[in-house]
Amino acid sequence: MSESGGTEKRGWFGRLRQGLSRSSTKLAEGITGIFTKRKLDQEMLDELEELLIQADLGAGTSAELVAEFGRTRFGKEVTPEEVRGALAGEIAEILEPVAKPLTPTETPAVVLVVGVNGSGKTTTIGKLARLWREEGKRVLLAAGDTFRAAAVEQLQIWGERVGAPVVVKGAGADPAGLAYEALERARAEGFDILLIDTAGRLHTKANLMEELKKVIRVLRKLDESAPHHCLLVLDATTGQNALAQVETFKSMVDVTGLVVTKLDGTAKGGVLVALADRFKLPVHAIGVGESADDLRPFSAEGFARSLMGFSAAADQS
């Protein structure tokens, strides 16, 4: 039970860089290898495209980015630094509009957290709760994953850690009923934020998506504007299927923003670029580890530059 251990404080970019260092280094080495003192020709562009593909940017997005890049720089003598900088710049440009932190203003603000199985919903809720508790907010958690074994217990442990009460019903209970009760309590007892956990569900399961819709319908009986935020938690390890996930969740339950988890591995989360380009959904935060303070605001430039292997000298964003 040492999930919150190792809470040494560092700048968020430092943490992110540490988390991303492995992937960025590899990517950077690759690009450096390709571009040292060479003219930018088609072969190099192809290789560059492959590097982007390997970062999970997807075949389409990679091709577009490289085409744009080639248009402006084809035939020029380029240094690795320039190449990386320019690409980071283009990626940051795509990401910039979606880098929006989550700052709930409603009282109580209802935040519904959804996603496929194993994406990291409960852990993300724990981290968000911690963040908002530190800001002095009163946070209530609702253990809406009544399906998976011990999901309730998992959230309860997080509740104890961060000092947030958890609304609980028995296993197999109706998540909509639980959400309703939780909102009633949040209003009655003057909580600032209600975070509702939900069971993981594949976006392809129509019945489970209906269940989620019901949660929302029931919440709206108490507050027509609820849920004020509907966060989709995405695993950075996920490949191109993330596009299908976002598309379906967005159309079914009106997702308002994304949290991308597990960015501390070698997975680069490049699909985020395609997601930003296609869906324009805000990316509120990224997860770079298992402990409670491993949730970071998402910075477009930081993410893009870090992805391109730039050193901490860029740590101003």
Binding site: D56, V116, F147, R148, A149, A150, T237, N241, G265, A267
Partner: protein
């Protein structure tokens, strides 16, 4: 996305088909689409490149068989090679031949589905192999992880090792084995904490668990939705812990599962099992040909082509072709087609082989076409006189009653069949305009509901 890919490949292959010859250019054009398809299916780039190179070598210069179009030829080569890379024939089972208790170690990233998979495998071993199974959670990191396995054990009536708070993973593993030996368990499933493959400390920890228990199987549990990173994950786990097999989870989603190919390729280890749902019995063996079709996004087109070629006897096809050329299609011909369907493994079997399976199967369900219906329809036709079969217009009210009684069906069923026949023969007339060569292809597509065969009412 799934569908648009099939379409894209279809377009390329259509172009090939029209040209009617398989040149290097054709192959390259097709392989460009295949490359994108594989990448969109999340097959890792290095694996894609090797794959494409191998297929190009095989395809260019390949003599195109008379009976198939060049397009089908390319599809077949791509598909066959993919199946081969995924492990060829059948899935090897779990290695349980060691002396009991046989330890099985479950490893993987966070959230890949280890704990659920552990319970699924336990149930399978218990019910199918009559094994006495003990499960133990070595996940001391994620809150309530041990409790999760304990709850699953209670649900599934599988024994779990009692939880001792604060006990480190290696000690839990040893205690599990000791308990299993004393209480005569056949198999011990060890569920470990999710860990990043680059987390040296945790990888060392799981390696020491491995050294302590010497597992007969170390199953890498991986999410079917995994992207390009699948190669890094599989490689690291294989190097640092040793992987004996792969379990792919969430195959019930719509991810195309390219990670399966990547991981199989970099580890050389077989994919042994797949998870296909949240329920604890949603566990299946891995079939390379199914995943191959899925990765390519085209169903099992190749086997369909092959099966059709095997079963449709040339002679009959020619006879039918001659009739169709004249725009004629009587109930005898329909009976022959229905028998072909039966030979090919029934409608369910065929539907499973067609692209866009999910959609099609739904349509079939809603159209209530099933194999029983095919049998019933054959019974109706065989209750007719030869004259009636050649000239369905003869079949009026009293004859319909007689046929219904004779075949043990109702007049409505007879009506339905006649209506279907009308639709089919109308379509056949259209096909006949395309000439004899087009017959087999369109004959097959006629099986699709909406293509003229299924009842439309």
């Amino acid at each position: 996305m799934f569908e648009s890919l099939s379409t894209k490949l279809g377009e390329v292959f259509d172009r090939l088909r029209r040209r009617g010859a398989l040149t290097e250019e054709d192959v390259n054009a097709a392989l460009r689409e295949v490359r994108v398809a594989l990448l969109e299916a999340d097959v890792a780039l290095p694996v894609v490149k090797e794959f494409i190179a191998a297929v190009r070598e095989r395809a260019v210069g390949q003599e195109v068989l008379k009976s198939v179009t060049p397009a089908q030829m390319v599809v077949k080569i791509v598909h066959d090679h993919l199946v081969e890379m995924l492990g060829g024939g059948g899935a090897p089972g779990l290695a349980l031949n060691a002396s009991p208790p046989v330890p099985i170690l479950m490893i993987g990233l966070q959230g890949s589905g280890k704990t659920t998979s552990t319970a699924k495998i336990a149930i399978r071993l218990k019910t199918r192999e009559r094994k006495k199974v003990l499960m133990a959670s070595l996940d001391t990191r994620r809150p309530a992880a041990q409790e999760q396995l304990a709850q699953l054990g209670r649900q599934a009536e599988i024994a779990t090792l009692p939880i001792v708070p604060g006990e480190p993973p290696v000690a839990i593993a040893k205690r599990a084995l000791t308990t299993a030996r004393l209480e005569a368990y056949d198999v011990v499933l060890l569920d470990t904490a999710g860990r990043l493959h680059i987390d040296e400390e945790l990888m060392a920890e799981v390696a020491s668990v491995r050294d302590a228990v010497k597992p007969a199987e170390s199953l890498l549990v991986a999410d079917a939705m995994t992207g390009q990173d699948a190669v890094n994950v599989a490689k690291s786990f294989n190097e640092k812990v040793g992987v004996t097999g792969i379990m792919l989870t969430r195959v019930d989603g719509d991810a195309r599962g390219g990670a399966a190919l990547s991981m199989r390729h970099v580890t050389g280890r077989p994919i042994k099992l797949i998870g296909v749902g949240e329920k604890l019995d949603a566990l299946e063996e891995f079939h390379p040909d199914r995943i191959a079709g899925r990765i390519l996004g085209m169903g099992d087109v190749v086997s369909l082509v092959e099966k059709a070629a095997e079963t449709i006897e040339e002679e009959e096809a020619e006879k039918l072709a001659a009739k169709v050329a004249k725009g004629r299609f009587d109930l005898d011909d329909m009976a022959k087609q229905l028998k072909q369907i039966q030979k090919m493994g029934g409608l369910g079997g065929i539907a499973g082989m067609l692209p866009g399976i999910g959609k099609l199967q739904k349509q079939i369900e809603s159209a209530k076409i099933d194999d029983k219906m095919v049998r019933r329809q054959l019974a109706i036709i065989s209750s007719m006189t030869p004259g009636e079969r050649r000239n369905p217009d003869l079949v009026k009210a009293s004859r319909r009653r007689r046929i219904a009684v004779g075949s043990g069906t109702s007049v409505q069923d007879v009506n339905k069949l006649l209506k279907q026949h009308q639709e089919m023969s109308r379509m056949v007339k259209q096909v006949s305009k395309l000439g004899q060569k087009g017959l087999l292809r369109h004959g097959l597509s006629a099986l699709r509901p909406g293509g003229g065969f299924g009842p439309k009412h």
